[in-house]
């Protein structure tokens, strides 16, 4: 997984954890001076910083190369003796190591897989080394202009180290502390006098200011990161609410089948598809036989329960994922069968009749059976310019009427499919 994917998965993980929301909201509300993250959030924050480093690394490395070239040329122009006189070995080594670092950075910026390692393990030691060399150079040649020139470069290097490399401020502080201690030790061993005032102003005071700035920038970024986590959480919440809303909008609360709206929408889509692909489309229109009598006898509660069981039976009998079973209204149900001709629709209708029968829901006032039964009208069409959706539904309804007038508990086609007799269910 790449760094971006890793960060995304870390953020996803955090967005699933409810305690993260509380933590983020509390921190954003209280805005503490020192923003301490829990280890999981801290890991994600470090991953984000590493990724940001990777994003800016390529352009930054070429900026550093330009800066290095400018400083090199300017030094050569003003102090050519630095490059020829052996007593300026510290300067020469500083230029050499800075050159190697900048060139290495430019090359590595093209190898994305190295970015994380460089940010994690190489940047801080490299900057410490460079700063150490500049500090030693400024002290060793404090008596002339080149020492002053070194101190300008010290400030520029400190700014780059603390404010552009996406390091934590503590790491920046560590770079300053380590390089200054190493430089102090070198000066002590060589008996070099450290010029107090320039050192105080060019390094100590500037260092304090820069560490403070790095601290405040990081603090602001930490709050920004908490906001980012909250975005993830809110996005998930929105997606969940949307899914729930879609379910509510498209599902019939009583039967659990698709509702009329979902059926109407799907019918338009399937009709167009069938027309495009020149495929037949079938519709089963069904009605629970003598349902009014059932309601009057057993009450509305039992009626609802009966509809629920019939709906479950229909769902069970409709096997293909592309088929849609829906409650059309009252005790009427429909099943939309894409890419199905009259024979196929008949098979499904038979299965529904059988499944509903197998429920054996008692219905003592039914005029066709001792249990609840359904009648089914079938309409199959090849959508074209000569027909339309309204006609399709009306024909299915007419077929249902035909089934009802034929004694109910049966299925009827609007137009009989060739070479197949009417299927009349035998009691």
């Amino acid at each position: 997984m790449n760094a971006e994917g890793q960060l995304r998965s870390l953020l996803n993980g955090l967005s699933q954890d409810n305690s993260v929301t509380t933590f983020a909201q509390n921190s954003l509300y209280t805005k503490p001076i020192f923003v301490h993250f829990r280890p999981d959030i801290e890991n994600a924050f470090l991953a984000k910083r590493s990724l940001e480093f990777s994003h800016i690394f390529r352009i930054a490395s070429f900026l550093w190369l330009t800066l290095y070239a400018v400083i090199l040329l300017s030094t050569y122009h003003h102090f050519p003796y630095i490059f020829t006189n052996k007593s300026y070995i510290i300067w020469q080594s500083a230029f050499l190591s800075a050159g190697i670092l900048v060139l290495g950075a430019c090359i590595c910026s093209f190898i994305t897989s190295t970015h994380h390692f460089i940010h994690q393990y190489l940047v801080a030691p490299a900057m410490t080394l460079l700063l150490y060399q500049l500090l030693v150079g400024s002290v060793a040649h404090a008596d002339n202009e080149s020492g002053l020139y070194a101190s300008y470069n010290i400030i520029i290097t400190m700014i780059i180290a603390l404010n552009s490399l996406r390091l934590l401020w503590q790491k920046g502080l560590l770079i300053l502390a380590c390089s200054s201690m190493m430089a102090y030790a070198t000066c002590f061993i060589n008996n070099w006098n450290i010029p107090l005032l320039p050192a105080l102003h060019s390094f100590v005071l500037t260092g304090i200011v820069l560490v403070n700035i790095a601290f405040f920038i990081e603090r602001r970024e930490r709050f920004g990161f908490l906001n980012e986590i909250l975005v993830e959480i809110k996005t998930h919440e929105l997606a969940r609410i949307n899914r729930h809303l879609i379910t509510i909008a498209r599902e019939d609360a009583l039967s659990g089948l698709a509702n009329r709206r979902a059926f109407d929408d799907t019918l338009v889509i399937e009709w167009d598809r069938a027309r495009r692909e020149e495929q037949p489309l079938s519709l089963l229109f069904m009605d629970v036989d003598h349902f009014k009598l059932y309601n009057d006898t057993y009450g509305h509660g039992a009626g609802d329960d009966c509809l629920r069981q019939v709906a479950t039976a229909i769902k069970k009998a409709v096997l293909r994922p592309a088929d849609l079973a829906a409650r059309y209204g009252g005790e009427e149900f429909v099943v939309l069968l894409p890419a199905t001709d009259g024979h196929g629709a008949e098979e499904v209708a038979e299965r529904i009749l059988r499944t509903v029968d197998s429920l054996s829901i008692p219905h003592k006032r039914s005029l066709v059976s001792y249990h609840v039964t359904v009648s089914i009208g079938i309409c199959s069409m090849l959508p074209s310019d000569k027909n339309n959706i309204a006609m399709f539904v009306e024909n299915a309804d007419a077929a249902l009427y035909k089934a009802k007038t034929s004694g109910r508990h049966c299925l009827k086609h609007y137009i009989e499919p060739p070479a197949l007799n009417d299927f009349h269910f035998k009691h």
Binding site: L197, I217, E237
Partner: protein, 238 residues
């Protein structure tokens, strides 16, 4: 660059196209994130508020820093202080201290808060101009000493006052032009070799860093904008 305006109520209701623009920009991570005027004004207002928070937090630390610098000047360069009946104090340090005091305490004044960058840009130009003139006017150690403070002032302006990039460039260029103009008028000699290092090169580095930092902030601003709109939508749905 200057206009700061915090919108009351939902900005999305007033400018519904902004969400699409925000999502698009976040997705593409454009290198130059130019905001529409309404968002830019919000962004500037946010930066002004953050800058004021930075000033409020670091006010006494900055006063301490200034006093330390003045003390060092008094002790190590007393011969400069005493010249011409404290001329440098009258002409430079008192105006500088007034400008710095104004920056540090102005967040208490509502009018300044509302037009923060109009005042701060002028103050910044004023401060840089005075320090630059000092570097032109004096030679040797004192000049070098002042250069450190110039560098410190520039970095504090970039990350403390939080000018947006174009304004920051304008401040630096204006201050430099003004100083050079005055220096030429007063026949002060300018060491351009040094100047190109401590001012031009250094400013370029700080500008580059400011640009990178601002780019990240603009992305973060988008994120915050999305969270606000998400919360608004969730509340609306609920």
């Amino acid at each position: 660059m200057f206009k700061q305006q915090l919108h009351q109520g939902s900005i999305l209701q007033q400018f519904p196209y902004l969400l699409e623009y925000t999502l698009e920009s976040l997705k593409k991570r454009k290198f130059i994130l130019a905001f529409p005027a309404v968002l830019e004004a919000q962004f500037v207002a946010k930066r002004a508020a953050e800058s004021q928070a930075f000033i409020n937090t670091g006010r006494y630390l900055l006063i301490l820093l200034f006093l330390l610098i003045v003390t060092n000047v008094t002790f190590y360069y007393d011969y400069i202080i005493l010249t011409n009946n404290y001329q440098i104090i009258r002409q430079t340090y008192i105006p500088l201290s007034i400008a710095i005091t104004f920056i540090l305490f102005s967040p208490f004044i509502r009018y300044v808060r509302d037009y923060f960058y109009y005042f701060m840009a002028l103050c910044a130009i004023f401060i840089i101009y005075h320090i630059l003139i000092l570097t032109f006017e004096y030679n040797g150690d004192y000049s070098n000493f002042v250069v450190y403070h110039l560098m410190m002032a520039i970095i504090l302006m970039a990350f403390g006052l939080r000018f947006v990039l174009p304004l920051f460039v304008i401040v630096l260029v204006s201050a430099a032009s003004l100083s050079i103009g005055v220096a030429e008028f007063r026949d002060l000699s300018i060491n351009y070799a040094k100047f190109s290092n401590y001012y031009i090169l250094y400013s370029c580095v700080v500008i580059a860093l400011t640009a990178i930092s601002e780019w990240h902030e603009r992305l973060a601003f988008f994120t915050k904008f999305i969270i606000r709109s998400s919360i608004f939508r969730i509340k609306y749905i609920k």
